[in-house]
């Protein structure tokens, strides 16, 4: 018989792994609410509890201008979370419970392709559902999880275990301000992937959404889809010089860099929506930093007509160059 483990003892153990938030959700509840391909049972049978935890983004990262540095920092968070999950799972197994780390980046192309990591590589669909169910945060307009302390500026991981822990309560109030009151994430999105138009007065729950394929163009700038597109582009060349130019392009170099060096960061290439979200106790210290204060105007341009509200798409200050090649530069 496995020994009993006190809930708060387990929470302290998780937090001691270098993560910032740790909560518990019941697997049974997730089985009922999450879409079939994303359910915990697709990963492990018999699990009772989903331990979900989050690591915040450094303030210096959010205030930075340089996109690859932010991307790498996101990848590092995911890597640290993987190690934390492994440590927690081992601790549980030493106490005779079964435990499975559920890293965000463990893609299963039959059920969950790279789009599962949109938006911004915060965490898989299952992890985000688990985070909301565990009361770690609530859904944002862009389908990220917003936390009271750090807004969406967290990455997620978790552990499924046979240990039964009383679930934490869900948050009783939506903390996303929604399209009508805020809409900043939608206005800045470089791919216009977040809803910008809704009926006046519609609850955020009915408005939120994400065009994942569009989002992935920026948050996975040299990821799987871009790799495939690039190969097609090369092989569609009509003559050798053109093919060589496309092959020896910056894009080939960036794709190789992501495969060889950036690893987990392949999914965290855009964080525009993350860095303009006004939710979170950390926002006050971020909003007036050099680069962030010029992201968006204080009042967003928006149209209100015929019972509809529409936020204007403004886009980011800096765009990642994903198409540049040597021939074009000449």
């Amino acid at each position: 018989m496995p020994p009993p483990i006190a809930k708060e003892e387990l929470r302290e153990l998780v937090l001691a792994q270098g993560v910032d938030l740790a909560r518990f959700a019941a697997v049974a509840g997730l089985e009922e609410t999450v879409a079939e391909d994303h359910r915990p049972s697709t990963l492990a049978a018999d699990a009772k509890t989903f331990i979900v935890f989050a690591k915040k983004t450094l303030r210096g990262v959010t205030m930075a201008r340089h996109l690859p540095s932010k991307q790498l920092a996101g990848g590092r968070n995911l890597r640290i979370l993987d190690h934390a999950a492994e440590s927690v799972a081992r601790w549980l197994e030493e106490r005779q419970y079964l435990a499975l780390p559920t890293p965000s980046t463990a893609l299963d192309f039959a059920r969950r392709g790279p789009l599962d990591l949109t938006p911004a590589g915060q965490g898989s669909t299952l992890l985000r559902h688990a985070a909301v169910a565990a009361g770690l945060g609530t859904w944002g307009l862009n389908l990220m999880v917003l936390t009271p302390s750090f807004g969406p500026r967290v990455h997620l991981s978790g552990v499924l275990t046979t240990l039964e822990v009383e679930p934490d309560p869900v948050l009783d109030q939506e903390i996303c301000l929604g399209l009508e009151e805020c809409g900043r994430c939608a206005a800045i999105c470089p791919e216009d992937a977040i809803p910008r138009r809704a009926m006046a007065g519609a609850p955020t729950e009915s408005v939120r959404g994400l065009d994942s394929a569009a989002c992935a163009r920026s948050c996975q700038p040299f990821g799987f889809q871009n790799f495939e597109d690039h190969l097609v582009h090369i092989f569609e060349s009509t003559e050798g010089k053109e093919m060589w130019g496309r092959m020896r392009s910056r894009k080939s170099g960036e794709i190789w860099t992501e495969m060889a060096m950036m690893k987990e960061a392949a999914f965290t290439g855009c964080s525009e929506c993350v860095q303009v979200c006004p939710v979170g106790e950390d926002w006050e210290a971020l909003r007036d930093t050099h680069h962030r204060r010029s992201d968006l105007p204080e009042t967003l341009p928006r149209k209100i007509a015929d019972g509809w509200v529409e936020v204007e798409s403004l886009g980011p200050q800096v765009r990642r160059n994903t198409t540049w090649d040597r021939e074009a530069r000449k």
Binding site: G60, S69, G253, E254, M261, H290
Partner: protein, 330 residues
């Protein structure tokens, strides 16, 4: 104890060999390229640099692949300590941005350039001296060190650069005579200080140090596309290049930090060079008296030797397919 002293103590406890501080303003004024903090983020005041040495045991083995693995671990450790210090500073209310020590930004330079030029940050931070081959040397481990760095908005009293150079330049010249692609200066005007002629042909160096990378893939593909002889597909695919390319992409072994000839023979290093020279294999790299100096009233020159013949074929892998594509080659 001052905050700086506490921070240095923390960095050392996390595994750094040394921790130093440079001023963002002073560095930005003096660094001889565009790799400046403002490219990453505005508003930072200090650069914190850490060093981590390559294990002496790893330098003693013949297998370059094992050394390469160890060099990546040392670099990762330096990077991790920089991140730990960043978190430590943020816990105390300051903002901090870890700077990737290996990401090469193609906006700075077509072939990629480091986000900061860490060798110069380390020299400005008083941790050592940039030597003849533009490798960074510390008093304890010579050029056998890797660097990590972060930026912070905390103004910290900078350290002073060393007063005396560690690298004797061409008075030693050991790195230059051994360098497989002959990428290190082998001559200088008489009386010049090493700081005036230290340099590196980066393109040549990359042939050995990054011998299995996207650059070598381009070289190989072009060679195959322009073959003078009809190609036998099975002969092309049987070449060891492809398995090495797969490993390099998957683990970075051979992709970066894959040539250590200049490190083996650098005589600086209070803590490791005597141990290294006790390894018979290392003693044969460049026995005493092998460096031939020619001094005229105008210039000082050392003669090129290259690495020991048994290691030479390992380095310039761009030659891998020559026997298949060149007419008359066997």
């Amino acid at each position: 104890m001052s905050l700086k002293q506490e921070m240095v103590r923390f960095g050392l406890a996390q595994g750094a060999d040394s921790v130093g501080v440079a001023s963002v303003e002073a560095y930005s004024e003096r660094v001889p390229n565009e790799q400046k903090p403002d490219f990453l983020v505005a508003g930072m005041k200090s650069i914190i640099v850490v060093t981590k040495h390559l294990l002496t045991g790893a330098l003693g083995v013949e297998d370059v692949s094992t050394q390469s693995t160890n060099s990546h671990l040392a670099l990762d450790m330096a990077d991790d300590v920089a991140f730990d210090i960043a978190e430590w500073l943020e816990e105390r209310g300051h903002a901090a941005l870890p700077v990737s020590p290996e990401y090469a930004d193609m906006d700075l330079k077509w072939t990629g350039a480091g986000l900061l030029d860490l060798k110069w940050t380390a020299e400005f931070a008083g941790l050592g001296h940039v030597g003849l081959n533009l490798n960074f040397l510390t008093p304890d481990h010579g050029s056998r060190v890797y660097l990590g760095a972060l930026l912070t908005d905390l103004e910290i009293e900078p350290d002073s650069p060393l007063e005396d150079p560690l690298c004797p330049g061409l008075e030693c010249g050991r790195c230059a005579v051994l360098c497989p692609p002959d990428a290190i200066p082998r001559e200088a005007a008489r009386g010049e200080h090493v700081n005036d002629y230290r340099d590196l042909d980066q393109r040549a160096c990359s042939q050995a140090a990054m011998r299995i990378s996207i650059r070598s893939l381009y070289t190989v593909l072009r060679k195959l596309l322009e073959s003078e002889r009809p190609l036998d597909t099975s002969e092309v695919l049987e070449n060891r290049f492809w398995s090495d390319f797969y490993i390099a992409t998957n683990s970075k072994r051979g992709a970066f930090a894959a040539c250590f000839e200049c490190m083996y023979v650098c005589p600086v290093g209070k803590k490791d060079i005597r141990k290294i020279m006790r390894v018979p294999y290392r003693r044969m790299d460049l026995p005493p008296g092998r460096v031939k100096h020619t001094r005229t009233p105008e210039k000082h020159e050392v003669a090129f030797l290259g690495p020991p013949p048994d290691r030479d074929p390992e380095y310039i892998r761009d030659r891998d397919f020559d026997h298949l594509v060149q007419l008359g080659a066997s």
